[in-house]
Symmetry: C2
């Protein structure tokens, strides 16, 4: 967790110690396979840090809630990988590749259900509120994923639509993780809401950083092929901005690079990068990201004003600035 409040391996050990059990074996193997593929565990850690900052300690019930959040995240990964036809996740085969599509659909479904079972298994007095916040977020993540799937088919997308999509698809989950942690620990409504807003803005900054690194980071920085979004003509905020702000020959050149898919990827990447910079799209993105970061800091000051309590949450926040995939 990169800080002294919660030991880094605490959640990972809890997850490994609580695999899902049941029959048929292949279904449960698929569920545990994705859960144990690793990853940053950012969302459950956010929940635990919020819980700790309110209550001053952690317990088994909080770890159970954190596992529910990570289980939901893994449900979405399994189903998204089917939709994206992705062969690899964290260096290993995706569930639909290692097993088959039907097993992947059912493993995702069952992870979604098991996340509810974990929350229902806790004995918090505010369980009804926890479940309602969690359920609202779950539906929003589905809405956001559908919006993302709809993007290539839409003739026009506004920046506001793009930002709404990433908010639903990626930012409401860390927001609710923090809110649930605070709620379960007994925080009042103002603090719970501030944690939610902190997570929402942090999540937005995170996603914008992702878009930036994908376009401008080196393969070494991001641990995957560079310029992937550019090659696929993915309509990120950078491309939307460039298309809207370039004019004349520059706009034509960008449109041609999108329509004609040149054989030389390196040429396409460097030219599109240059055009984006010319349009000021990179600066626009960094400015937006800065706004979200600043708001996140302000909400954090409300959520947990004690400097010591902020340390853990800020360590994740600091990581954002130099984030490598």
């Amino acid at each position: 967790m990169g800080n002294d409040i919660v030991d880094t391996d605490l959640f990972e050990a809890y997850l490994l110690g609580h695999p899902f059990t049941g029959k048929p074996v292949n279904l449960y193997n698929a569920m545990n396979y994705i859960m144990q593929l690793g990853g940053k565990r950012m969302r459950p850690k956010l929940l635990l840090l919020a819980y700790h900052s309110v209550k001053g300690e952690l317990d088994q019930e909080a770890l159970k809630l954190a596992l529910a959040i990570e289980t939901f995240h893994n449900f979405s990964l399994v189903h998204d990988d089917i939709m994206d036809n992705a062969p690899i996740r964290r260096g290993k085969k995706t569930v639909h590749e290692e097993w088959d599509q039907s097993t992947a659909i059912l493993a995702g479904d069952n992870l979604l259900i098991k996340a509810y079972q974990l929350i229902l298994d806790t004995n918090y007095a505010c369980k009804d509120q926890l479940l309602k916040a969690y359920t609202k977020m779950s539906a929003q993540v589905c809405d956001g994923q559908q919006m993302d799937m709809n993007l290539p088919k839409q003739s026009q997308i506004t920046e506001a639509e793009y930002l709404q999509m990433i908010q639903l698809k990626t930012a409401v989950l860390p927001a609710v993780a923090l809110q649930m942690g605070a709620l379960a620990a007994g925080a009042n409504e103002a603090v719970c809401n501030a944690f939610y807003d902190f997570g929402l803005h942090l999540g937005m900054a995170f996603q914008l950083q992702d878009d930036y690194l994908d376009a401008f980071g080196s393969a070494q920085d991001i641990g995957k092929q560079e310029g992937g979004d550019i090659i696929e003509n993915k309509r990120t905020i950078l491309l939307l901005h460039a298309l809207q702000h370039l004019k004349g020959a520059d706009l034509n050149q960008l449109q041609n690079l999108i329509d004609q898919a040149p054989a030389d990827d390196a040429f396409k990447i460097s030219t599109v990068r240059q055009l984006m910079k010319q349009a000021g799209s990179d600066q626009h993105l960094l400015q937006l990201k800065h706004v979200y970061e600043t708001s996140a800091h302000q909400f954090l000051d409300i959520a947990c004003p004690e400097p010591q309590q902020q340390a853990g949450l800020l360590s994740l926040f600091e990581g954002l600035k130099t984030r490598v995939y």
Copy 2:
């Protein structure tokens, strides 16, 4: 509902009056499309009848619970249709055909989540119990569906394994619908359990009846191509029994019909039917079905002993004996 206690159109009107609303539009259209395709609405009706038999009246909260159960059922239909590659459901295109596979996956996911939202929206004091029973059932339905998907790859299947599969895949849902209806209406544990067991055994009898009709019913009886399971070599309890009890030349003939897929479907159907009858497989199925029916009757006597209260539930039960698809 085929009885005087609950008006037939009551649930249908409630469902049509409470469509899911949200964005993006295509996702919510897909969700409402499958919900409004019609069907017998057996599961929500069972919930309402159990509720009514305990409480003597119905209310909006009970209808909300019934809608949750129907929503879950529709989630499973949408995902099962993807897995089965089914083009048609109730005479209309399936969701993945009318939209696309990604939308169908997300529509199913969101229906699963909306079912939780409906239950969470009720104000029953026993909500935690309702959610726990519902969640346990949901995971079991996924387990059962995976077992069904595994069947063709398994070299040997016992009758017990087949019965366990249909119990999870199809019988636990009506069982929990009845249990939730009784629970929400304030019935004691013994009555709730008796309703559950009534539904479980009724569900088993239903599925066995389905298997029987698919093999021996005429196209006119069942409203679809006759002998579908036989043509596809589906390992129902009939085929499992016949393979286990035929000997010598008869067994060879059945095995050849399975392995070689003769071009003449009518010949295959009539010959397999004959061999199944020779093995006594049809009688074996009907005997099993009778056992489940008898137990269901006995549990119903415990669940609601008043002859008048039994009427509604028995009307669904009577329908079973002459059931046409």
